[in-house]
């Protein structure tokens, strides 16, 4: 498993953990504890786990004297990024146009919605990039020499 695959797996695990724990916390606070939805949304605090993504360059350092990145890796990374950003673009269009059609031209949206768009965009891009990278390499060590 090369560095890019390790990074993709790490991103995927951190994202899944953060999103999963947030969803569970919101569900527990709303349905079991009985907090109103505004209070239950405090479960999004688990999104702070995403801060671990910043450790990627430290955790997966480049080994000296070893070629870790060739043309194939570059093509895969580029393809993953393009797919992720292409889907992000579609979601961006939807997120911008849906409030316009739902609320009408005289409506207003809270700026919190815009911040949620940034978070959603970041999650979408990182998640899709990791999934496409792993799909392109293969989910396991197929074809790699030990």
């Amino acid at each position: 498993m090369n560095k890019t695959q390790k990074c993709a797996w790490f991103n995927l695990i951190v994202l899944s953990t953060a999103m999963g724990l947030s969803a569970i916390a919101i569900g527990v606070l709303y349905f079991i504890v009985g907090l109103p939805m505004r209070g239950a949304l405090g479960g999004f605090g688990f999104m702070g786990i995403l801060g671990l993504l910043g450790l990627t360059p430290i955790l997966f350092r480049k080994d000296k004297g070893k070629v870790q990145y060739d043309e194939r890796d570059l093509t895969i990374c580029r393809k993953a990024a393009v797919v992720a950003y292409a889907i992000f673009w579609v979601l961006f269009v939807a997120a911008a146009m849906v409030p316009f059609f739902v609320l009408g031209p005289d409506g207003t949206v809270s700026v919190t919605y815009l911040c949620a768009m940034v978070l959603g965009g970041f999650l979408t891009v990182t998640l899709l990039q990791s999934i496409v990278t792993l799909k392109e390499y293969g989910w396991r060590r197929k074809g790699e020499k030990p």
Partner: protein, 148 residues
């Protein structure tokens, strides 16, 4: 002149032919209020903008038979790089467009929904501009890429 340079010229023509009458229409609307003239100009620009995208397509179709190879591996690589650069700039624009209103009106403020489609239009314009610019930079501004 290669394909990218043609695309760049088409893009510039499209932007200029929309921006100039658009600016005049906005000025008239602000100065004299909304009347038939600015509405007609806005409608014309919308129709022109909608149809303008057809010109490069039709031009490409007409001239397809004249060139033997119009798109090889090098063109594909340049296109991919240009798209990537455009996406990076689009991402920065998206973050700025979402955070700046929050910063301007405060965390409890709200903005008109009319800003959202405008943000989208801005994103589209920036994406197209950066993609064309990156393509042109990679090919070179003139015919210096060994074309016969």
């Amino acid at each position: 002149m290669n394909k990218a340079q043609e695309a760049w010229i088409w893009f510039l023509l499209g932007v200029l032919s929309s921006l100039i009458p658009g600016g005049v229409a906005v000025f008239i609307a602000y100065d004299r209020g909304m009347s038939f003239a600015p509405l007609f100009m806005f409608a014309s620009i919308t129709i022109w903008g909608g149809l303008f995208w057809l010109f490069p397509f039709i031009s490409g179709k007409i001239r397809k038979g004249k060139k033997k190879v119009s798109f090889d591996e090098r063109d594909q690589l340049i296109h991919k790089r240009a798209v990537m650069a455009a996406y990076v700039v689009l991402w920065l624009y998206f973050v700025a467009a979402c955070v700046i209103p929050w910063w301007l009106v405060g965390p409890h403020g709200s903005i008109s929904v009319n800003v959202m489609p405008l943000t989208l239009l801005g994103g589209l314009a920036i994406f197209t501009f950066v993609q064309n610019l990156a393509t042109l930079i990679q090919y070179g501004w003139r015919n210096k890429d060994g074309e016969k």
